[in-house]
């Protein structure tokens, strides 16, 4: 059967146009914030000098060193990590059909923290150096990162394995994640109890997520992983829309929903594991950024995903800038700020009680 007497509805195109405008505005804000982010801090660099330096015209040797060794890596890390965490959160919310889906609520972050603590204490690696802290820079940062990554992947794989036993049901994934979260928290506390002062400081320092601990090679790796996941998620945008409509409807329109759910979770967990292991635990970006965008442009993943990516970057970058300035000359880890920001939003979402 065929329906051939339709036209292109102007109203609908206007509605789509609004979403594109929102995304464009967000993108412009991100570019502005990028320049601001490089400009502000303990040493103020005028905007015009930032632009000139980035374009390769050396204004002063000192500015070049600050920009290319400290500020630019930090800003880029915030952009990449914010984007990756946010887009993973959006996908987890969709495939789990639960508004609370995010790396933080699924216990993946806690597992990473345990992995870091495990590395500090048992493997004796200490923690990595950060340009915002002069405190506890110790021997082997890569081992800590690797250990955090391994444990967060273990958490993700356990969630997937348990849900596989129960036909990939979303509830099972969430409940398993909650259980794992408390298990790994208990494990971390156990390690902390037996740790000496330096180890304890290193463990706690690691969990303060901040975007200042990555160098260029880490940034390239992070970007590669994040871009790959974005590509994968974009390709599946229709499948996530179908997942939102319910399993039966999704299958009815030819979507292999179990496979979509499994692959979505694997990729999202992988990206967040990588990000968390490099920057530490940054809560709520993965939860809040998608919800903010949902409220403005809706749940159509063709627009939600790009909107979420940009908003996640914006959110983390803005938080990082504020964290740098709020107690200047002291610099707060950005995770403290995102959690302060995220918790009220989280409670607001619960009170609104909107079932997705």
């Amino acid at each position: 059967m065929h329906f051939d007497d339709g036209v292109l509805p102007a109203e609908y195109y206007k509605y789509i146009g609004k979403k594109i405008i929102f995304i464009t505005i967000a993108l412009i804000c991100l570019v502005l914030l990028f320049v601001i982010g490089i400009s502000v801090g303990a040493v103020q660099i005028p905007f015009i000098d930032v632009v000139k330096s980035l374009a390769g015209m050396t204004v002063s040797k000192r500015f070049d060193i600050i920009i290319f060794n400290i500020r630019l890596p930090q800003v880029l890390t915030a952009i990449v990590a914010g984007a990756g965490l946010a887009v993973s959160g959006a996908v987890m919310q969709s495939v789990l059909r639960n508004p609370l889906g995010s790396p933080f609520t699924l216990g993946i972050s806690h597992a990473a923290a345990f992995g870091a603590a495990f590395s500090v204490m048992i493997l004796g690696s200490g923690t990595m150096a950060s340009s915002i802290s002069d405190a506890v820079a110790i021997s082997n940062p890569y081992l800590t990162t690797f250990s955090a990554f391994i444990f967060s992947m273990i958490a993700a794989l356990i969630i997937l394995a348990v849900s596989k036993l129960r036909q990939g049901s979303p509830e099972v994934m969430i409940l398993t994640g909650v259980a794992l979260g408390s298990l790994f928290t208990a494990g971390t506390m156990l390690l902390q109890f037996f740790a000496d002062d330096v180890q304890l400081a290193a463990m706690v320092f690691w969990t303060f997520g901040d975007v200042a601990r990555t160098g260029w090679s880490e940034i390239f790796f992070l970007s590669f992983v994040t871009l790959f996941s974005m590509g994968f998620f974009f390709m599946n945008a229709w499948n996530y829309n179908a997942a939102d409509a319910g399993d039966e409807t999704a299958k009815g329109v030819g979507v292999k929903i179990e496979r979509t759910r499994l692959l979505g979770m694997i990729i999202a967990s992988f990206v967040t594991s990588v990000i968390i292991s490099f920057v530490g635990i940054i809560g709520f970006v993965g939860l809040v950024a998608p919800h903010m965008v949902r409220r403005i442009i809706g749940d159509d993943h063709r627009f939600l995903l790009p909107g979420t990516i940009i908003s996640g970057s914006l959110l983390l970058l803005a938080s990082d800038i504020v964290a740098r300035l709020i107690l200047s000359p002291h610099i707060l880890p950005v995770s403290v700020l995102t959690s302060f920001l995220g918790a009220p939003v989280f409670i607001y979402l619960i009170i609104r009680g909107k079932r997705r």
């Binding site: 059967m1 051939d4 339709g6 609908y12 179908a242 299958k251 009815g252 749940d299």
Partner: protein, 256 residues
């Protein structure tokens, strides 16, 4: 013949839910699957669409064995309207556009948009087009789900309790719509139904399920009191009203 089902059997935990089901559906026909709660009506519908994997038997759609078709190919041949649809902050237009999923790779063509527009007009849903489906009433949402099935442009619609939880007017509107589209486009529909009288009014054939087997099947106008009484276990009377049979349930005797 659009749909042909041979010897379909479905087990759940080694317990037979459906036993050796055989039936077929012709072009332009609406079949109502009837029977008490928990008898396997929805399961049968899901087996037809391969949402559930059958344990035995064949399902042929347009003479093609669905066993050799992937989910997208099946979705091009038959559409499924689920009983419960989850809602999202999605406009009706975009929700209906999802029905084009089997036909598109990723990019939506102008042709797809036009088809959605045409279906919306045919169903008189223009006023809902840009309303978010999470703000819709049950009746509105059901119309959107049916529009999504229409825009899939399949030869067979499978509808799971299309009118449960709907008021009288919405029931009449939705079933009237299905009937009109089926007749106009010479396609077919299989619906599971609760309400015998709406089934009598809007379908051509019936199929009674009892304990996972076919108890009786035939032309809807030939439903007998005896059959209804033995399937549902309640005495009934069948009256004729404006050319349609109407079933009046009687009193349950206090045998138990």
């Amino acid at each position: 013949m659009i749909l042909n089902i041979n010897d379909l059997t479905f087990k759940y935990n080694s317990h037979n839910v459906l036993n050796n089901i055989n039936f077929s559906v012709e072009k332009g026909e609406i079949l109502a699957i009837l029977g008490p709660n928990g008898v396997g009506k929805t399961t049968l519908l899901k087996c037809i669409n391969s949402i559930l994997k059958r344990d035995k038997g064949d399902v042929y759609i347009n003479d093609k064995d669905t066993l050799n078709m992937n989910v997208t190919e099946i979705a091009k041949q038959m559409s499924y309207v689920a009983q419960n649809n989850d809602t999202a902050k999605l406009t009706a237009f975009d929700a209906i556009l999802l029905g084009r999923r089997p036909h598109i790779k990723w990019r939506v063509s102008k042709d797809d948009i036009k088809k959605v527009d045409a279906v919306i007009k045919r169903l008189n849903l223009e006023h809902l087009s840009l309303k978010y489906i999470d703000q819709m009433s049950g009746g509105e949402l059901q119309k959107v789900s049916i529009a999504r099935a229409f825009v899939q442009e399949t030869d067979l619609f499978l509808l799971d309790e299309p009118t449960s939880n709907l008021d009288l007017k919405n029931q009449a509107e939705i079933l009237g719509l299905v009937k009109r589209v089926v007749k106009e486009h010479n396609v077919s529909a299989v619906m599971t139904m609760h309400d015998l009288n709406t089934a009598l009014r809007y379908s051509d054939k019936y199929l009674f399920l009892q304990n996972g087997s076919i108890y009786g099947a035939g032309d809807i106008k030939e439903i007998s009191c005896l059959m209804v009484e033995s399937v549902y276990g309640i005495p009934v009377e069948i009256l004729q009203h404006n050319g349609y049979p109407v079933i009046i349930p009687g009193e349950l005797t206090n045998a138990a």
